[in-house]
Structure formats: structure tokens, C-alpha cells
């Protein structure tokens, strides 16, 4: 509507963000946890007179700087770039509400980046005391970036009643602090801090695994055992914070999580449960494997072992984020904006009345005029006339249907790749497609789609064009244009008052 639609064939826009996030999330959490790990380890080494730890810590800080300062930063910017394209309405809402928060985050971020570089380049060049201070400054600034960004990320799942009461009024910023310290803020922060600590320990194990256990058995054992202990808080407290987090999630979203316990049906949405399961199982496995492989056998703990642990940690982190993202369905901002950028209120009601494409700034005025004329020529109620497939009306209907599908479905679907419309609708005739579209349009309380899909919005005529287009995708292979209209017409009635979104 207000922004052009970004179409990524096969992969879909969500996966573009997802692929960048798979790299970014473990690195950004490592940036926070590792920032705490380094000065803490240096402090321990200095207090205990363990100068033999310093070369390892220096090597680790170089590895840390490259990994977080280059790959972490590049993927962080990449995420912003990608979400701006994938979900411009959602990103715009976040910017309008949290611009002040982001300004603060960027300040901490600049301090974090600078001190990370200074920390590495001042090894053996400044006094121990000053070097430690630089390290602590880095740790504090990196934790503060997390403290800020967590408010924005958790807001997207649970904006909270106070913010929702002013959403769409233009006064949203007046509830900034309510939105920031939203219902899932604290459990989410706790979980993320625990993940940061675990990742710090795991990345340190990667560096420590390269110490020769036969040449320097004592050094390797001491570093590995100390690094392994960084996983203990997560192992002990994660279940508590996880339970708290789930308790704070709205009942509707929790329903999505429960659905996958009994079934693998319902499309890919039972994936939320399965992703959560992977998180739980992988986290437990990591703790046990680190104990058996690293803590009990530090001398033989090699790079292969460390990479195996890291791979499981990346999987656990990735699936946690995926579960969090999917838990938000059908919203991109909980209870406010659907995943296709349409606001629950007042967009749904308004667009059903006025039309979706009518309100789009990316449709040419002359096209809008033509479509209005063609619609007016029809008898009200007879929504889909059997038209000549080659006629101007038929071509216009397919174009409108395609634009509707791009605007409202492509945030989550592709034609032939991820969540492919063609395959999901395969085997359905025009009537069955019409019924599916009708269910999405009427959006009754009893509709199974309500759990994870936004309503389809637009006028009856626009929605009928969606049926035409989808039917042409599925039932007329190789002859997309026109031929679909030869099939029997499918009347699509407007949503009843009771069936509207609340």
C-alpha cells in the first residue's frame, strides 16, 4: 500500500532476513557475552598471577574483534536493510516509536566498537589497570546495547495494553516507556543475557581448544574448565526465564505453541513447537557435552569438539529466534499490525470498505479508474461474471488479483519456493480455492487460519480477483493469463460484522 512490495522468488523475503539473522544473532550475543568474558578473564589472570593466560586472551580478543566487529556489524546492518524492504510498514512503526531508543543504542554501539578495537590494540602497550578499564567499558556498553534492543524486539511480540490503547492515534510515542518495558521485556532480557554468557564460554572453548594439551596440559585444563563454567548460569536459570517468558505471551500466541504438541498438521505452523523443542533439547545437550568432552577431558578437547559444541549452540540460538518470530504470527507487531503490514484497526475495516488497491499509492490513477469502471458495469452480487478470457476485464482481474496476492501474501509466501502458493493450493479446483479465500476474507472466530494468517482485505470485487488469479496459478498450467476466467464463477461475500477482526 504505502510501500512497494519486495518480491524474492523461491526464498521469500522472510528467509532473506532469516539467513542474515542466523549469522548475526550468535555473533551479536557473542559480542555481549564475550565483552564480559575478556575483562573478567583478564582480571582473574592478573589476580592469580597467571601471565600464561595472556597470550590466549590476546588471541581470543583478536578473534573476537574480527568476528564481531566485521561479521557481526555487517550482518547487523544487513538485517536493518532487509527488514526495511521485507516489512516496511512494521519497520516504519518501530522507527516512529523508538527513534529515541535507537539513538541511545547507536551511541552505545559506537562506544562498543571503538573500545573493542582499543582493547585489542592496547595489549602490552598500556598498563594492566588501564587495559582492564577499557575492557570493562566495552563490557558495559555492549550490555547496554542489548538492554535497549531487547525492549524493541520484545515489544514486537507484546506491545502491551498501554501502547495498544494509543496505537494508530499518532500519540504512540507518549507510551514509549510502556512499550519499551513491555510484558516480555524482563524475561526476554534474562534469557538473552544467559545466552550471551553461554556463547561467551563456548567461543572461548573454540580458542582454548587450539592450545596443545600435551605441551601445556595445565594451561589448557584451567582455561577450558573456567570457560565451561560460563554455561552453568544458563543451565540453571534458563528454564525459569523460559517459563516466565511463556507465561507473559498472550494466550492466542501460546495456542500456536501448544498446537504442535499433538500434531504435525496445520502446515508449517506446528514448526513453532518443534523449534522450541530443538532449543530445549540442544541446550541440554550442549551442557552435557561440554561437561563430558571439555570439563572432564580438557587435555583432549580439540577444535573438532569445540566446533561441534558451537554448531549446536548456533542451532539452539537460531531455533529460539525462529520460534520467537513464528510465535508472533499472524502479527508482525502483536495485536496491532499483521505480518503483511496491515493494521488490525483501522486498516482492516477501512480497506474492506474502500478497497486495498484503491488505497495503494503504487497503482496508477488511470488503472484505478479503469477498474472502478469495470466493477461498476457489473450487476451487484454477481461478483465474477463469466467473461471472455481475452477481454480487457479478464486481463484486469488477473492483474488486480496478482497485485493483491503480492501485497498481502508475499510477506510469508512465494509462488514456487518457500511456503509455495502453487503447491499449497495444488489439487484444489476453483470452488475449493474460492472457499479458502472466503475463509480468509470472512475471518470468522472459528476459522483455523486465524491462528497464524492475517485476514484477506479488500472489496468483494478485489477478493474475487484473488480467486481468479490463484485459480490461474493452479489450474491452468502454462496459460496463466485469461483462461482461468472460463471456469465457473465463485461468488465471494463480504465478511459479516461478527467475523471481523477485533
Amino acid at each position: 500500500m504505502n510501500y512497494p512490495v519486495w518480491v524474492v522468488p523461491l526464498l521469500g523475503t522472510g528467509w532473506v532476513v532469516g539467513l542474515i539473522a542466523i549469522t548475526h544473532v550468535p555473533l551479536s550475543h557473542f559480542a555481549v557475552g564475550g565483552g564480559l568474558f575478556l575483562p573478567w578473564a583478564e582480571r582473574k589472570a592478573l589476580r592469580e598471577g597467571r601471565r600464561d593466560w595472556m597470550p590466549m586472551l590476546k588471541a581470543h580478543s583478536k578473534f573476537f574483534l574480527i568476528l564481531t566487529g566485521v561479521f557481526g556489524v555487517a550482518t547487523g546492518v544487513g538485517i536493518w536493510f532487509a527488514i526495511g524492504l521485507a516489512s516496511p510498514e512494521g519497520t516504519s512503526t518501530l522507527i516512529h516509536n523508538f527513534v529515541f531508543g535507537w539513538a541511545i543504542e547507536w551511541t552505545f554501539f559506537l562506544v562498543e566498537l571503538t573500545t573493542a578495537a582499543v582493547y585489542y590494540y592496547t595489549w602490552d602497550r598500556v598498563s594492566d589497570e588501564l587495559h582492564m578499564k577499557i575492557g570493562w567499558l566495552y563490557a558495559a556498553s555492549s550490555i547496554l546495547t542489548l538492554v535497549i534492543i531487547n525492549g524493541i524486539l520484545s515489544f514486537m511480540l507484546t506491545p502491551g495494553a498501554a501502547w495498544l490503547s494509543v496505537a494508530g492515534t499518532g500519540n504512540e510515542a507518549s507510551k514509549f516507556w510502556y512499550a519499551f518495558f513491555n510484558p516480555t521485556y524482563w524475561p526476554s532480557l534474562g534469557l538473552r543475557v544467559l545466552i550471551c554468557g553461554s556463547l561467551a564460554g563456548i567461543w572461548a572453548l573454540v580458542t582454548a581448544s587450539r592450545i596443545d594439551g600435551y605441551e601445556q596440559p595445565e594451561l589448557k585444563a584451567s582455561v577450558i574448565r573456567w570457560s565451561s563454567r560460563w554455561l552453568i548460569p544458563a543451565f540453571m536459570l534458563m528454564p525459569v526465564f523460559f517459563a516466565w517468558y511463556i507465561h507473559q505471551v498472550p494466550v492466542e500466541q501460546r495456542g500456536l505453541l501448544v498446537m504442535g504438541i499433538s500434531t504435525i498438521g496445520q502446515g508449517v505452523f506446528t514448526q513453532v513447537t518443534r523449534s522450541a523443542l530443538i532449543t530445549v533439547m540442544s541446550s541440554a545437550t550442549i551442557a552435557a557435552v561440554v561437561y563430558f568432552l571439555a570439563y572432564r577431558n580438557p587435555r583432549d578437547f580439540g577444535l573438532g569438539h569445540a566446533v561441534a559444541v558451537l554448531a549446536m549452540a548456533v542451532a539452539a540460538t537460531g531455533f529460539t529466534e525462529q520460534a520467537r518470530e513464528m510465535l508472533r504470527k499472524p502479527y508482525v507487531i502483536g495485536q496491532h499490525m499483521f505480518s503483511n503490514g496491515i493494521r488490525k484497526t483501522p486498516d482492516v475495516e477501512r480497506l474492506n470498505r474502500e478497497g486495498y488497491l484503491t488505497n495503494s499509492v503504487w497503482v496508477r490513477p488511470e488503472e484505478k479508474e479503469l477498474w472502478a469502471k469495470l466493477d461498476a458495469a457489473r450487476v451487484p452480487g454477481a461478483v465474477v461474471p463469466a467473461a471472455d478470457p481475452g477481454s480487457q476485464d479478464a486481463q484486469a482481474r488477473l492483474t488486480r488479483g496478482e497485485l493483491m496476492v503480492r501485497g498481502q501474501c508475499f510477506a510469508c509466501h512465494t509462488l514456487d519456493g518457500y511456503r509455495p502458493l502453487r503447491r499449497l493450493l495444488a489439487g484444489r479446483d476453483r470452488e475449493a480455492i474460492g472457499n479458502t479465500v472466503k475463509m480468509l476474507y470472512q475471518y470468522e472466530e472459528s476459522s483455523p487460519y486465524r491462528k497464524y494468517m492475517p485476514p484477506l482485505v479488500g472489496t468483494e470485487a478485489e477478493v474475487a480477483c484473488v480467486v481468479d488469479y490463484l485459480d490461474s496459478l493452479v489450474n491452468v498450467p502454462g496459460a496463466k493469463k485469461g483462461a482461468a476466467l472460463a471456469a465457473a464463477p465463485t461468488p465471494v461475500s463480504a465478511p459479516s460484522a461478527g467475523g471481523k477482526t477485533k
Binding site: 504438541i261 523449534s275 523443542l277 540442544s282 545437550t285 552435557a288 563430558f292 568432552l293 572432564r296 577431558n297
Partner: protein
Amino acid sequence: MGKSTSLERNVKRAPGVYGWIDERLDLTAITEFACAKEVPEHKHSFWYYWGGISLFLFLTQLVSGVLLLLYFRPGADSYDSVRQITYDIDFGWLIRSAHSWSANLMVLAIFIHMFSVFFMKAYRKPREFGWWSGLVLAGLTLVFGFSGYLLPMDDLAFFATKVGLEIPRTIPVVGPFLVSLIQGGDSVSDVTIQRFFALHVVVLPLIFIGVLAFHLWLVQKHGNALPPDEELKPESERRSIPFFPNFFTKDLAMWLITLNVLAVLASLYPWQLGPQAEPASPAPDGIHPEWYFMSQFQVLKVFGKLMPGALGEAAGIIVFTVAGVMWTLIPLYDKDSARAVQARRATWFGLVVLGAFIALTIWGYADI
């Protein structure tokens, strides 16, 4: 005279419950024995874990299989009961997926174990019976997989079983009789499910556990074999670690990693259930056996194309039989490092078998 046990030696024991049990069962003797046992440590040590991983996956099969038994109803209700497990019962899908995935992973782990044993020449004297008992276990695992595949009785299971039974049917003279005996008639039916079920949950486990016990006893008796390049090293340059706790804890960690891989696969790609089998309907396009039978299937297909009719089938069977016999008897050919020519030829033979298996499997999938 045998060694005295720790009970007889009046060993000092731990206090508490463990000490009480130890005093009666002499657990200390077991730990002492395990601590004294050494496992070689070298650049090929990674391959030592695959036997343990195979064992772990077998245990997973047992546990998940027993859980599936709580709801599975063999015979005419097979399909409905599996549908119920997959789509209605809490975490039923997880147990079924874990069972199916661990079956596949077990076959893979056994293959890796078998080829690593082969290339490390661990079949040489005195480990010949270890090799043969391992081959029996591998064969039994394949039969496990085949008999379990039919049980859900969806269309894929039904037609894949029909295709799979074409392989034993080609055995001269006894083939058709054998297939008829297995499937309980002229075609795959509810009776076949009953027979496969009995085979899958009673007959095969009993035989498997017996052979497995023998195999493990041999492993324990002979210890881990050194690969030829390690054997050449002087004793002083060889490294080893105690089986307990060092190797044992690492083994446990490998089991946990395997469990995690299994959990990820079962959760990410849960085993789906297709439409109920309709024996009267034509087989869906591209029906094929599971991946571990694909190479044999492809060989039969190729020979069938080159030599249509019984001649092609006979040629295929001859190839399998000759290769199988050579594979089995390799310990009698490549006996020790002193015979370099035989050792080299055996290695080349192994590489050809491995290469053919991989190439034919890929070819089979590309040819569907």
C-alpha cells in the same frame, strides 16, 4: 588360578548407598577393569566412536519402538493407528519421527562403522569373528528397516515394499517361495503386516540382541584394533587413554551429539504419513526403496535394461552374491601387514565397493 575379585580382596568401598550395593554386586571390580582397559589415541580415533553410535541408535530404536507399541495396532488398523500417533496423540509424531530417523541413522552409522573397520584392517586376526558378527548385525539392521517400513501401510510404504520384495524374488529357485512366505500370500496385504510386525518386534530383536552380545564380547576381548600406520610405530610413540572414565565420557558426549542430531531431524523433518494404501490402484510415479537399498535396486534395473528377463535378474544376483562373498571373506585373504600385495588389493576392493555404493545410490535417485 583366576584373579581374585575386589570382594575377596576386601577393598575399601565408598560410603552410602553406592557402597552398600558395591559390597554385594562388586561394582568396584567392574570399574577397576574398565580403568585398566586402554583405548588407542591417534589421528584415526574418531572412527572408534561409530560402533558406539550404532549401539546407541539401536537403544533409541528399542525405547521409541516400545512407546510406539502402546498405540500401534497391526493388521487392518495399521494405517489408522499410525495416523492417530502422527496427528492426534501428544508427541506421538515425535516418537514416530525419532523411531524412523534413528532407523535411518542407525543404518548410516553401521555403514560408516563397517567401512572404517574395513579400511583400518580391523578384521585381521584375531578379529575375524568380530567382522562376521558385525556383518550379520548389518544384515539384520537392513531387514529391520525393510520390515518396519511397511507397518504404517500408506501408499508409499505399500508400493516401496512391493518394489523391495522384487529383489529377493530374483533369487533362483527359492526366491518366489521365500517372498510368498514373507508376505503371506501372493501379494502384500494385512497378513503381510502381521508377519512383518512379528518379525520386526519379536524375531529380529531376539536374534539381534544375541549376535550383538557376541559382537560386544569380542570387542571387549580383543580391544580396539590399531590401524596399519599406527602399528608400524614403536610402542613408546603410541598414545592411549583409559577406557574409563576418559573414553567413556567422550563416548557419552558422542551419544549426546547423536541424540541432538536425531532430535533436530525429527523436529525439523517429522515423518509424514501419506494417503492410505490402495492395493488396486496403480503405483505412484517414481516409487523406489529406501536409500540403503537403492544401489541394489539400481543394479537390478540396469541389468534388466541390458538383459531383459530372467537373464538380467540372474546377472544381478550373481554380482551381489560374488561381491557379498568377497566382502565377507576378506579376513581370510588380507591376513596381516606382512602380505603387502593382499593388503593393497583389499583396500582397493573396499574403495571400489564404497564408490560403487555411493555412485549407484546417486544414480538411482537421479534415475527415478
